[in-house]
């Protein structure tokens, strides 16, 4: 009788142990995944990408850029503010994909780009003479 109860305890301990291990691994994987798709990282990547595209362009160039993953970071914020997600002020590109975010990077090309963002996260840019 006593032996049976002990086996039951061991099984329970093992189950708890396995669950805790699984929880630990899940949290770790979630952290890695969140870091990899980090909001700040995406803002920085797009700001630098757009700045380099502008630097490499001549007046009259039209640029299409797919940034649909940007709309998934904060969908509510995106729906209300997608038009201002990418802004250009002087020679500074700013990408803002969430409430308290935003990353700016400067470009050296003395041009005046016009930016148009669609709700789906497709960006259309025309490079005009500065």
């Amino acid at each position: 009788m006593i032996g049976r109860r002990k086996k039951g305890t061991i099984l329970m301990e093992n189950i708890i142990f396995i669950i805790l291990n699984l929880a630990f691994i899940s949290i770790l994987l979630l952290f890695i995944f969140k870091q990899g798709n980090g909001d700040a990282l995406l803002e920085q990547a797009y700001a630098k990408k757009i700045a380099l595209l502008i630097d490499a362009s001549k007046p009259g160039t039209e640029i299409f850029l797919e940034m649909s993953d940007a709309s998934e970071i904060s969908p509510e914020w995106w729906n209300e503010n997608f038009e201002n997600a990418v802004s250009i002020n002087g020679n500074l590109v700013t990408v803002k994909l969430r409430e308290n975010g935003g990353y700016s990077y400067s470009f050296f090309n003395d041009v005046a780009p016009i930016v148009d963002m669609s709700p789906e996260g497709k960006i259309y840019m025309v490079i005009r003479d500065g």
Binding site: I10, E13, F17, L20, N21, F24, L28, F31, I32, Q35, G36, G38, L41, Q44, A45, K48, A51, L52, D55, A56, G90, N91, L92, S104, Y105, S106, F108, N109, D110, V111, G130
Partner: protein, 167 residues
């Protein structure tokens, strides 16, 4: 015994977790370094500005055909702005343009430089070993002609912007 193993097991798990979190944070926390591409783009822009279709641009020459160069209007002529974010007070770019006769590639017959002259030292240091915290440089050399005479053009550009490209 089992409990002891569990405690040690979780201690190991926590150690592993801390190590992974540290590595992931270090990897994803580091900004993208785009300075090399940027330096290369500036060099290309300067090259396109002074030479088109293999011929030196006419604005570099005076009325008598002598090589007059830029009249402090390089940025305007080449459509380049050296202004950067407010976090920096000093220029973050350096551009050097040298025009040489083909027979004498050591002494330029004309050169122009603008931006932060302190970045030249970074370019010299980077030739031997790569230093992340120093400015990144790009060098370009090509030949161009003007009225039948051949010239060698050397362009060196450097981009610092360390705070935005290196952790």
């Amino acid at each position: 015994m089992d409990k002891t193993i569990s405690i040690y097991w979780f201690a190991i798990l926590i150690l592993v977790a801390v190590a992974i979190v540290y590595m992931i944070s270090a990897f994803y926390g580091a900004p993208y370094d785009v300075r090399e591409i940027e330096a290369s783009l500036i060099s290309n822009r300067a090259a396109d500005c002074i030479s088109q279709k293999g011929e030196l641009n006419s604005f570099l020459f005076g009325e008598n055909g002598e090589l007059a160069g830029f009249n402090n209007d390089f940025e305007e002529r080449c459509k380049i702005t050296l202004e950067v974010e407010n976090i920096w007070t000093e220029p973050q770019y350096y551009i050097y343009l040298g025009v040489f006769r083909v027979g004498d590639t050591n002494r330029p017959i004309y050169f122009y430089e603008t931006g932060n002259l302190n970045l030249i030292a970074s370019c010299e240091a980077q030739q031997e070993k790569e230093f992340e915290n120093l400015a990144k440089c790009a060098e370009k050399r090509f030949y161009s002609i003007h009225e039948g005479e051949q010239y060698l053009i050397k362009i060196l550009s450097a981009v610092r912007k360390t705070e935005k490209n290196v952790k």
